[in-house]
Symmetry: C2
Subunit: 431 residues, 2 copies
């Protein structure tokens, strides 16, 4: 790569983030050239709708004929901000890498599904595929896992990776209102999509977790290895009980090395109050990485939005300008291990359990007996409300035990005619 002439950048997808990238490249051209050792020049752009109103920094940039033309152009780097797991984004990235263009993308869905294959393609063609913006917005945690926390390995990564979910949980705690009410407000405020399922169902967190796990453990990103649960079933009552026990509920992506393999899951978890992850409020994201003897590291910042995401894209571009290429997931793509889902025995923790029961004699004894039969022991218990024959909540924290044992007990308990609906089970996680 000739590093004396400007780095020529083509960008596809000109929404909020694309506008932010164009703005930062223009506003801080001198500074970025000084850092990159060469100018960074936006030479070509493309989006579906050419007529849409856009940032003034995009007004005079030549428009590519189409994405195929962009991949074949004389740009050095293609920035993919189209989004989506397949389709146009995948075609553009593949064609660009084949044409020996570096690629910078914010597309977690694409990389979660095709990351290993695209990494191999980038490495075969001697170009970079960078994705700092895909995992926790502006937080430089992709770089930290890829380049910094490498001398002692990583035992576990836990992250609050979806601002929509964290905003909803924070608001549910602050207002005592239900998931549905808070979601509706978040949609009005633009903090949640009209179709919120990818966020509140945990899928977006799973996409990001697959990338962090790939970087941390040298495994091929694979959504099939991630058990995913969203936050729809969390009630204001769970949040209040959590607080009483000294915890806060957060939707976490967790990837952890266990003697049985890498356990990866997305799940609401109880995080002890006063720990860094418990204190991450609103739309912020955060990642805790346990790096062996080097100890836990914690990173927090904005996980989405124009400036934070543009910040990550621009940092990747400057890396490329400086010639810092390196393997996509830190190790050569060929070294990324394909793994299977961890078996059930990989999951042990303490658990929060909530049962809605009819207040009848013997109901607590029934529950306790089933738990004991499965060797789940109780650390503390709260029973609230009294009214013979009426519905009351019984809430417990277990000692550390296998999740499979708790599930066996819950299956048996669910069958009781004194128990209403499905019990709620939330694991405790280090924060």
């Amino acid at each position: 790569m000739n590093t004396s002439r400007p780095l020529r950048i083509a960008m596809a997808g000109l929404g909020t983030v694309g506008g932010g990238v164009a703005e930062a490249l223009a506003a801080r051209a001198g500074e970025l050239a000084s850092r990159g050792g060469r100018a960074l020049e936006l030479v070509s752009v493309f989006a579906r709708d050419r007529k849409k109103a856009r940032k003034k920094e995009l007004a005079n940039i030549p428009w590519a004929d189409d994405l195929a033309a962009m991949a074949k152009s004389d740009a050095d780097v293609v920035v993919e901000l189209i989004g989506g797991e397949n389709g146009a984004a995948l075609s553009l990235v593949e064609a660009s890498l084949r044409a020996k263009k570096h690629v910078v993308t914010a597309n977690k869905a694409l990389l979660a599904s095709h990351g290993t294959k695209l990494a191999a393609l980038a490495e075969q063609n001697g170009v970079a595929l960078k994705f700092e913006a895909a995992a926790a917005g502006g937080i430089p945690v992709v770089k930290a896992l890829r380049e910094s926390l490498i001398a002692h390995g990583v035992d576990a990564v836990r992250g609050i990776l979806n601002g929509t979910c964290n905003y909803i949980l924070t608001q549910m705690e602050a207002t005592g209102r239900s998931f549905e009410d808070v979601l509706a407000d978040a949609q009005k405020l633009g903090y949640a999509e009209a179709d919120p399922e990818l966020d509140v169902g945990g899928g977006d967190t799973a996409h990001k977790l697959s990338l962090l796990a790939g970087l941390a453990f040298g495994i091929a990103p694979d959504l099939k290895n991630i058990t995913t649960q969203g936050i729809r079933h969390i009630t204001p009552e769970d949040i209040r009980f959590a607080r009483e026990f000294g915890y806060r509920i957060k939707l976490l992506g967790v990837a952890r090395a266990t003697p049985h393999g890498i356990d990866q899951r997305v799940q609401p978890a109880m995080v002890r109050l006063g720990t860094p992850l418990a204190d991450v409020d609103g739309v912020f994201n955060a990642v805790r990485a346990d790096a062996g003897a080097a100890g836990p590291f914690f990173f927090e910042g904005r996980g989405a939005g124009e400036a934070p995401t543009a910040s990550a894209v621009v940092a990747d571009l400057v890396d490329i300008a400086r010639g810092s290429i390196g393997p996509v997931f830190g190790r050569p793509a060929s070294a990324l291990k394909a793994v299977s889902p961890a078996p059930p025995e990989a999951r042990t923790s303490a658990f929060y359990l909530r049962f809605k029961v009819l207040d009848l004699p013997g109901v607590l004894a029934d529950i306790a007996r089933q738990l004991a039969r499965c060797e789940v022991s109780i650390e503390s218990m709260i029973q609230r409300g009294r009214g013979h024959g009426e519905a009351v909540s019984i809430v417990m924290i277990t000692h550390e035990c296998p999740q499979a044992a708790v599930e066996r007990a819950l299956n048996a308990i669910e069958g009781s005619d004194k128990v209403i609906g499905q019990p709620c089970m939330i694991p405790m996680e280090a924060g």
Copy 2:
């Protein structure tokens, strides 16, 4: 640089950190080679005392004749872990850079005094001078400021950069004991040096702050621009009052862009409870960087000790193995601006003020009059203890105002014969 053969590493200084580096290079050789694209090989070591007992990983590494020989050897990289601002460390680093060897160092004192000159020397010779371990131990904040938080500039960096001070302040709060008592215990436990002045006097924090400010603002590191105050004057009473007002006292290094220039200081500060910096306990370090529209970022981890520091050194070595060189402070050394200390008007904040006074009629009125005369207005006040003619404490929080105005008022108040000793003034800082 030929990147197909191993990266040949020479290391001077074989204490705790050096042992940790040798151990990590040996224990994770395959993993690091995979990440660096080549093997990392420790080929030469040196320390003052050859007879000292050391880690087994150092046993069979050839010993250099002396430091001059190491600088002239066929190593690709010299790791400087000798320490000290001048003397052997400076000579080794200069000679190694001149001999076109990359240098990795954990030496904050050296870089705080000679950083710009050494950066220029490295860049002239086309080699790297990396120092991740010099600023906040294992936390990859040097890399984050150098390579990641660059698209929107940085307005302010605030850090807890000295684990000894943070441990002492945490223990003072937990036990209610005095600075001297807690320091003596910390010395026994090995958390404080026999001569603790560099730590508790704030000098070590100033060294590190000068490097973070250089990276964040593109200025030449210069200790003369940093106003430094340590923690010796902090009393258990201050810590209790801070808590009552909803704050915690932390020794912070702060560098902030103001309309009057870059204000740099090391000073105990009041940080609001519940903010990330306030919650950093014990020997942990943390940095908050305000990156314009991309918002605040927060990084926390272990700031010292064998594994965290070795982790940072090894990450720098793998960067070099991969060929990621780049300018030492993110921009070319010639672009680093030499600045002057910010003038007094650059410093405005709210302040905590504590006066020890004789409980006599009119004393509060006298203090209030002097503050009003200097246009310092009071937001809240606590007066504790009552006993005519006895010593009591009056504690206040001011509204935001110039530090110079507070100092004028305090000078006048100190002259009063009803005021005992020197008033204590601690600024409030965002956490």
